[in-house]
């Protein structure tokens, strides 16, 4: 029986870290009591709805809402005139530099609509039925323009131009004319021409991926309540309420302190809820109407108007020797940004070859706008696309020289000291450890049957830290309140409470974690970047240490001995040595009880910009069966082997591995946006945008490998994002193994697979195995 957690050695026997506690927010979630974005209501609230462009690309000539305003029950209408005209480009919004010019235009169109679904106006009315009628009464005059969606088509010289001031950045000398390419960049290590010259053979392939949506089951939803004197309360589902607060304040021209946001429970985000859509509209409507306004996005609008990830074209060229040494890696990435600049192409470019120790690498990234919703982050943004392409070619290399794919990766594996293509030398990472663990699995040794194939792929994600503020207080009975600022998307409260309990040496259920609102804590960057357990955990540990220190100071005072003559251990404070005097140990409960009389409440307050996040490396191993008659690819068996640094709560780490794998399986086999000739989305529903369902998948086995991150008190590495990076490559490799055919375009949906098999059969392709 395989070990599910390959634990890192530790000289400490943890009491809580590494165990599987019941999450403190669990009962409310299994009883339906937890409040998500759309579950909150305010007395007298209005319903807000958005009018969206029916055209993929058009000039917005005129908006006349006068008839709508006359309809009984309509209390407010907002259009582009209600938002600050941001001309200047970048402003700080917490950790990110954002173009408010672009965000304001995405939230509400100004001179042009740039995608079907682009918001044009919003109304607030006393009922949904009236709001719907009101939308129909808003007169909008469009001048329809030709549109373009595909990234390669958008780069053609005669392509419809989205922004007439878009001059490609990163090109020297800058182009004289505007285009749909917002920027270009390259990452170079060594000299790839030399590397290719050293190779015994070179494999070159072009890949195409389709845009996919994060697919969170909970729609965007918020309730805004703005008083006549401009104090705004905002409730909503988000990955980062300080970020939303900042965006709303800037877009509306308000002081940040005027906006108080409470994050509801969140029903999935995956990066798609790190941006604003409804919130500024709801706030503007509430201010105008003088009443609370509730807005919930329909599933159709989510597909038409909220940000998916990029579709892309990726060209990969890799040179290798017959002994499996990879001599050079080159990639050209063309990523869709959607209607405004900013695809994750630079992160995709930097990650492409990151699992490998290469001397010569050149990756060029190009950011292309086209008439689709502005792309939003989707779990390891950019990396799944580029690594799918690279991992496919690595697989071809292994097949060509008949080398075991794990052995090939081990031979070229990045490790501590490897210089990454994006510059710095890597610290300790788990590429080799996870490869070795994969090789040792029973899965890897199992025989396959007819029409079956096995594939493996590696994945890398950097992980981030960021601004984190946490408060912890000792209650009068020795229990603890812990307020963190990163919304809990799946087990975070449990993990942070476990780290705090470990640090304090107290029972886990004596630490109560909650998510604070923007009034209650200093700035917290969002839950994303695989940062929450790492950063909020680090801050909680620091706050716990402050409490321990203060508890010791109080005890020392009570005993009249110097502060440093006192020790804290497992919730008890005792004199440090015989010299300190014979004082009975005092519990943290006692300290809590006496806190008021000994100086006041005992509170830990940690305010950090967490640094030292370390990458997580992982391997996905998958067996598939391909039905040549239907083209259906069935996932028979799946194992995720990934480095967590240290798994605080193994069940929730496993959950991240399994969830990322499932999303990747959907991306590989079924998910895509299907546009008609007018640039309108044909499959704007869960029926036709098919994400994996329970009957599509087998059990997803997981192995947690621990290569601790030296920069975190408990060795934590973020894990959420790496998990979605390998699946497409692994499945494409498995399908190649089963069929003998290499699929360079996603998704590998049944019609596409069947067509390829039929064509190969008709052509007498000797590679065909089914």
């Amino acid at each position: 029986m395989q070990e599910r957690v390959i634990k890192a050695p530790s000289d400490v026997d943890f009491k809580w870290v590494g165990t599987r506690q019941i999450r403190p927010d669990g009962v409310e979630k299994v009883t339906g009591r937890a409040q998500y974005g759309a579950d909150f209501n305010m007395p007298g609230q209005l319903v807000g709805l958005v009018l969206r462009s029916p055209h993929a690309h058009a000039k917005l000539l005129k908006i006349d809402a006068s008839k709508a305003l006359k309809l009984e029950g309509v209390k407010a209408v907002v259009t582009r005139d209600d938002f600050v005209e941001h001309d200047s480009d970048l402003m700080a919004a917490g950790e990110m530099m954002v173009s408010y010019k672009d965000i304001s235009r995405n939230v509400m169109a100004r001179d042009k609509v740039l995608y079907e679904g682009h918001a044009v106006a919003a109304v607030a009315a006393t009922s949904r039925a009236i709001a719907k009628k009101a939308l129909k009464l808003i007169d909008v005059e469009y001048e329809v323009l030709p549109h373009v969606i595909d990234e390669m088509e958008a780069m053609q010289p005669d392509a419809p131009l989205l922004h007439d001031d878009m001059i490609t950045a990163g090109v020297n000398p800058p182009p004289s004319k505007p285009s749909n390419v917002s920027k270009q960049m390259e990452f170079v290590l060594g000299d790839v021409e030399k590397g290719f010259a050293d190779a015994d053979f070179v494999i070159e392939r072009t890949f195409k991926t389709s845009p996919v949506h994060q697919g969170y089951i909970e729609p965007h939803a918020c309730v805004a309540n703005v008083s006549a004197d401009g104090y705004a309360d905002l409730w909503g589902t988000t990955q980062g309420h300080w970020v939303v607060r900042a965006h709303c304040a800037r877009l509306l021209g308000w002081d940040i302190s005027r906006v108080r946001m409470t994050s509801s429970e969140i029903g999935g985000g995956f990066g798609g809820k790190t941006v604003v859509y409804l919130e500024p509209l709801a706030l503007a409507l509430s201010k105008k109407s003088g009443k609370p306004v509730k807005m919930v996005m329909s599933r159709e609008d989510i597909f038409r108007a909220s940000g998916p990830t990029s579709g892309a074209t990726v060209k990969v060229k890799i040179g290798a020797k017959k002994d499996g040494t990879i001599t050079a890696g080159q990639a050209d990435l063309f990523y869709q940004a959607g209607a405004f600049a900013g695809s994750p192409v630079s992160q995709g470019a930097m990650a492409a070859f990151a699992p490998y120790d290469l001397e010569h690498v050149k990756v060029v990234g190009v950011d292309v706008v086209s008439n689709r919703p502005k792309v939003a982050a989707y779990r390891a943004p950019g990396a799944p696309i580029s690594e799918y392409a690279v991992e496919s070619v690595i697989d071809e290399i292994a097949r060509k020289i008949e080398m075991d794919p794990i052995a090939l990766r081990l031979k070229n594996a990045a490790k501590e000291g490897t210089q990454a293509a994006y510059g710095p030398k890597l610290g300790p990472i788990g590429m080799i450890e996870t490869l070795e663990a994969t090789e040792a699995t029973e899965h890897y040794k199992t025989m396959l049957g007819p029409n079956q194939g096995r594939g493996i792929a590696s994945g890398f994600w950097y992980n981030i830290g960021g601004q984190t503020t946490v408060n912890m207080s000792l209650n009068e009975d020795g229990t603890f309140n812990l307020i963190i600022g990163t919304p809990d998307i799946g087990g975070l409260r449990a993990s942070v409470a476990m780290m705090a309990a470990e640090e304090l040496g107290v029972e886990y259920n004596r630490v109560r974690p909650t998510i604070g609102d923007t009034q209650q804590l200093g700035y917290n960057f969002l839950t994303g970047g695989s940062r929450a357990c790492f950063s909020s955990g680090m801050a909680a540990v620091e706050a716990a240490r402050q409490i321990k220190e203060e508890a010791c100071r109080r005890a020392a005072k009570m005993w009249d001995i110097p502060e440093d003559a006192v020790d804290y251990e497992n919730g008890w404070i005792r004199p440090a040595g015989d010299n300190a005097g014979a004082h009975e140990p005092i519990s943290i409960n006692e300290i809590g009880k006496m806190a008021g009389k000994t100086g006041g409440a005992i509170v830990g307050s940690s305010k950090i910009n967490a640094q030292g996040a370390a990458p997580s490396l992982g391997q996905h191993l998958v067996d598939v069966e391909v039905d040549p008659d239907t083209g259906k690819v069935t996932v028979l068996r799946y194992t995720v082997i990934q480095d967590a640094g240290r798994a605080i709560h193994p069940s929730y780490v496993e959950g991240q591995y399994q969830g990322g794998a499932a999303q990747g399986i959907g991306w590989a086999l079924n998910e895509e946006y299907i546009y008609n000739k007018d640039g309108k989305l044909d499959n704007a529903s869960f029926l036709d945008y098919r994400i994996p369902v329970a009957s599509d998948l087998p059990m997803i086995d997981t192995i947690i490998v621990e290569v601790p991150n030296p920069n975190h008190p408990y060795g934590v590495r973020g894990v959420g994002e790496t998990a979605i990076v390998p699946p497409m490559g692994a499945i494409a490799n498995a399908v190649a193994d089963a069929t003998g055919l290499r699929f360079t375009s996603l998704p590998m949906s049944p019609p596409r697979v069947k067509k390829a098999i039929d064509e190969a059969r008709a052509a007498g392709d000797p590679n065909l195995k089914v």
Binding site: L90, E95, M96, M97, G170, N172, Q184, M185, E186, F187, Q214, F270, G271, G272, T274, P344, S346, Q347, M350, A376, A377, Y378, R379, A380, P381, Y422, G423, P424, K425, L426, G427, Y462, N463, I464, G465, G466, Q467, L526, G528, G529, S530, R531, N609, Q611, G612, A613, N711, E721
Partner: protein, 81 residues
């Protein structure tokens, strides 16, 4: 003296120079000196750059110490999803 590499296409804004020596004891100083020497680089340094110092990546850490002889890379910031 830090050994600085400008990753990606940052070198375009530094007159094509990709590697250089800079006297700086923290990231803020590093950015200030680079901006002074290459004004075209300044807005990009504001633009969300991560800085790797001897392999450790720092984002938004203006006062992070840069020791003498450190190997420094300036690269695009990593957001998350």
């Amino acid at each position: 003296m830090a050994h600085v590499t400008l990753v990606g296409n940052l070198r375009q804004f530094a007159d094509g120079i990709g590697e250089l020596e800079v006297e700086a004891t923290n990231i803020r100083q590093l950015f200030a000196k680079l901006s002074e020497r290459f004004p075209a680089l300044a807005p990009h340094l504001e633009d969300g750059m991560a800085v790797a110092i001897d392999g450790e990546i720092y984002q938004e850490a203006l006062f992070q110490t840069i020791k003498d002889d450190a190997v420094v890379h300036i690269l695009p910031a990593i957001p998350g999803g």
